[in-house]
């Protein structure tokens, strides 16, 4: 049975939202931990970096000027229902999308995402949550990972599975590109702790130390987070998965026009597979990362064009009288 476009859309966003919730939780948790031992001026710089990494356009000093403290900041990033990127909003978004396809995902998946959502609602009401934020972020990360594990072990490997993978890795590739861009835009004066934090934001510290050593060199970190083919939180790994999922989807949906989409993903994947670090640095790292972000946005748009909002829509738009005359 072919899959409805709406169903593909729900699965894709369910997965993207959950990935974003997990990423945001990890970022906030890492930075919380980082600023504990810093003096205020350094802490402010770190907060700025967190905000930039999560694509907020305000800086911490601007927020401070309008009377905010770190508690309010983290509350906004975590629980604010008005903030579409808060952890709460992301988990609610994931659950809403899952609810619309509840009969098509496994009941284990539904139970887990519903449980996670109910847990977040409860924490949101908990006045004391500010006293032990780490536990909360840990719960969100574990919930998202559990959901992914359940998805892995209970989902038929059809188009639905591929749209779930697609959502997850588009979100991950994008978040990583934004994070790296925010980090390297700030210039080369980062301290050791900041590099540790960067790796930890990508769950990469332990893996990095095994592949290289705890001696953190900038070039090696870029190599690892951008071009490594085996580490799940590298941009290349994520883009490879995007490429693979889209190829599988194209094989199973012969009626759709995926030419442009496959060209866009193939090109991005190739640049990461065959590009070298030296070329990249010569070309300008920040520019390259920015370019990745744009390419991912194009891939997202092309995916919609191919499978969800394909152009029959245009053919159906009634011609207005004005265009005839």
């Amino acid at each position: 049975m072919t899959m409805l476009s709406r169903v593909a859309d729900h699965l894709y966003w369910m997965s993207r939202y959950l990935e974003r919730a997990e990423h945001t939780a990890r970022m906030i948790d890492v930075f919380h931990n980082l600023v504990l031992e810093q003096e205020p001026s350094v802490a402010a710089r770190y907060w700025d970096k967190l905000l930039a990494s999560l694509e907020y356009d305000q800086s911490y000093s601007e927020m401070e000027a309008s009377g905010w403290d770190t508690y309010q900041l983290t509350q906004t990033l975590t629980f604010d229902s008005e903030n579409a990127s808060s952890i709460y909003s992301c988990i609610r978004g994931a659950r809403d999308n899952a609810r619309n396809v509840r009969e098509l995902i496994s009941s284990e998946m539904w139970n887990e995402i519903n449980r996670l959502y109910l847990g977040v609602i409860e924490s949101r009401r908990d006045e004391e949550i500010g006293a032990h934020p780490h536990d909360f972020y840990q719960t969100v990360k574990e919930g998202a990972q559990l959901f992914q594990g359940i998805t892995d072990s209970t989902t038929y490997r059809g188009p639905g599975w591929n749209f779930i993978q697609l959502g997850r890795y588009v979100e991950r590739a994008r978040a990583l590109a934004v994070l790296l861009e925010a980090h390297f835009k700030a210039g080369g004066n980062e301290d050791y702790l900041e590099l540790v934090a960067l790796l930890k934001c990508c769950t990469a510290f332990e893996a990095f130390c095994k592949v290289y050593s705890p001696e953190l060199q900038r070039a090696r970190i870029v190599q690892f987070l951008l071009l490594n083919s085996e580490f799940p939180h590298s941009v290349r790994f994520a883009v490879d998965r995007i490429d693979r999922s889209l190829s599988r989807i194209a094989e199973n949906a012969p009626g759709a026009d995926s030419t442009r989409l496959l060209r866009l993903t193939g090109r991005l994947a190739s640049s990461l597979r065959f590009g070298t670090l030296e070329e990249l640095l010569a070309q300008g790292l920040v520019g390259f990362l920015e370019d990745i972000r744009h390419q991912l946005a194009d891939i997202h748009g092309a995916m919609y064009q191919a499978y969800v909002t394909y152009p029959i829509e245009q053919a159906l738009v009634p011609v207005t009288a004005g265009e005839f005359w």
């Binding site: 072919t2 899959m3 476009s5 509840r102 009626g255 759709a256 029959i312």
Partner: protein, 487 residues
């Protein structure tokens, strides 16, 4: 000849009392009807603890399957389990044969009626039913005049509500001819009963109902506009917030068809397509669980976000079948209901097999006065409503409620009908560890594609509150499995 045992009620039946209402199980205290003997024996054998245990297991199974419905008018998204009673309601082969004949006759006649009023209007010309009455129906769709539907079948799925009167005869209380619901409970109840009482099934000879999904699919297939290819059939749901969403997903899975929402469909050149990841796919038959009003914002309610713009045009062009057809509600209007016996005689030249409940139309001054003087004894219903909304049960009403209804009736007499308060038959229910009688009705599901097909069973709805006569799920009703016997 097996002698029916007569004994004083014991065990869980200690408090079981008989009343003037027909009792489905007992003819006298402790003396059960033959078809209930095996069940009676089994209940006494099991004892209250084991019964309670099985009831709990059944409840849990409903919860786990997510068999819930949404109650409107309370806090948003209140999902409830449909209360379920463990004791089956049993119908003999002879009784069923009679019901089957009556339901078939009725549905055939009502379809002829719909075809007639949307085409030639012979029945109106012959003054069998007043023209005004038909055209003033809330659900009459003038847009359907002259529109031909496949096989002249307007109502392909009906959920007729039957009640059993004090003398034991069945009568039709309501014809639900628009988007009748509840069939998933019929099927789920049976599933649970097979787990709870496997031995009884073997001994007693219960006719199966599991093929309902397949029967429905065949019905829809028979109504496809084109005969030269395998039709694409979909189920159109209003979406996850609809009270019957569980049923929609359930039936779509049973039939192996796509569950679509309005936004999944589009109409181009009067052809309906669904948007899939493999491109647009043509749709031939829509089993729609969306009311007429919301089907097409261009033809009906412009504010509908559930519908498909242009659907009515595609329908009128004969490119897609809607099941049920648009405009069937005119035939289950509660005032038109009073004329159904005449409708049957007019088209089929037969006497009705199933009787109607006596019904007062309130447009006539003398009848209205008669009714208004007796509001405390009668039941008043709004003609275009279903689900037990906008209804007055005289004997259980307060003076204030009666006064409100009096005003409403006087303001819009065409909008209401009155009926005597029926003493619905009672069946044993397992409540808090004992067996007590509760009022029940019966809703069989009647399918009509190339022929009328009734799966032997139905939803027996139970007014679980003691003494209550209202069986609607939205008003505190529950249900029980219905067993139709082979012999």
């Amino acid at each position: 000849m097996a002698r029916t045992k007569s004994e004083t009620p014991t065990g869980p039946f200690q408090n079981y009392t008989l009343s003037a209402a027909f009792d489905e199980m007992f003819t006298a205290p402790g003396k059960s009807r033959p078809q209930y003997q095996a069940l009676y024996k089994r209940i006494l054998e099991l004892g209250p603890d084991e019964m309670r245990h099985r009831q709990q297991a059944a409840d849990l199974s409903f919860l786990h399957q997510g068999i819930t419905f949404t109650v409107y008018g309370r806090e948003e998204g209140t999902e409830k389990i449909f209360p379920y009673d463990l004791l089956p309601r049993i119908i003999t082969a002879k009784e069923w044969e009679h019901l089957e004949r009556g339901l078939t006759q009725r549905l055939v006649a009502l379809n002829l009626f719909l075809d007639d009023i949307y085409h030639k209007g012979c029945i109106l010309r012959d003054k069998i039913i007043p023209r005004d009455l038909v055209f003033s129906c809330k659900h009459f769709r003038k847009e359907m005049r002259g529109v031909d539907v496949p096989r002249q079948v307007y109502v392909s799925v009906a959920g007729t509500d039957l009640v059993r009167l004090a003398d034991g005869t069945f009568a039709v209380l309501e014809d639900n001819l628009r988007v009748p619901s509840g069939v998933s409970y019929m099927l789920a109840n049976r599933q649970v009963m097979k787990w709870a009482f496997p031995q009884l099934f073997r001994n007693i000879g219960v006719r199966p109902i599991d093929h309902y999904g397949n029967a429905l699919l065949n019905t829809l297939r028979a109504l496809a506009p084109q005969k030269d290819r395998e039709p694409t059939i979909v189920l159109l749901t209003p979406g996850v917030y609809n009270s019957a969403y569980f049923e929609h997903t359930f039936l779509a899975r049973q039939m192996g068809i796509q569950l679509v929402e309005g936004r999944d469909l589009l109409v181009h050149d009067s052809v309906v397509y669904m948007r899939t990841v493999s491109g647009l796919k043509r749709v031939d038959v829509i089993y729609r669980r969306v009311d007429d009003d919301f089907l097409d914002p261009l033809a009906f309610r412009p504010d509908s976000a559930l519908g498909v713009p242009g659907l009515f045009n595609a329908y009128r062009s004969g490119n897609v079948t809607l099941s049920n057809a648009i405009g069937t509600g005119v035939a289950d209007d509660k005032a038109v209901y009073a004329y159904v016996p005449a409708i049957i005689k007019y088209y089929l030249k037969e006497e009705p097999v199933l009787q109607n409940v006596e019904t007062y139309l309130l447009t006539e001054d003398s009848v209205r006065k008669h009714v208004l003087d007796r509001l405390d004894q009668l039941v008043v219903k709004a003609v275009g409503e279903s689900g037990g909304y906008d209804m007055l049960i005289g004997p259980h009403s307060t003076a204030k409620e009666r006064e409100e209804f009096r005003e409403r009736i006087e303001a819009r007499p065409r909008n209401y009908i009155a009926q005597p308060t029926l003493d619905l038959s009672r069946a044993p229910c397992f409540i808090d560890g004992v067996v007590e009688p509760r009022h029940v009705d019966l809703r069989p599901y009647v399918l009509y594609g190339d022929r009328v097909n009734i799966v032997p069973g139905g939803l027996t709805r139970v007014a679980l509150r003691r003494g209550s006569l209202v069986v609607n799920s939205s008003q505190g009703g529950g249900s029980k499995d219905t067993w139709v016997l082979f012999e």
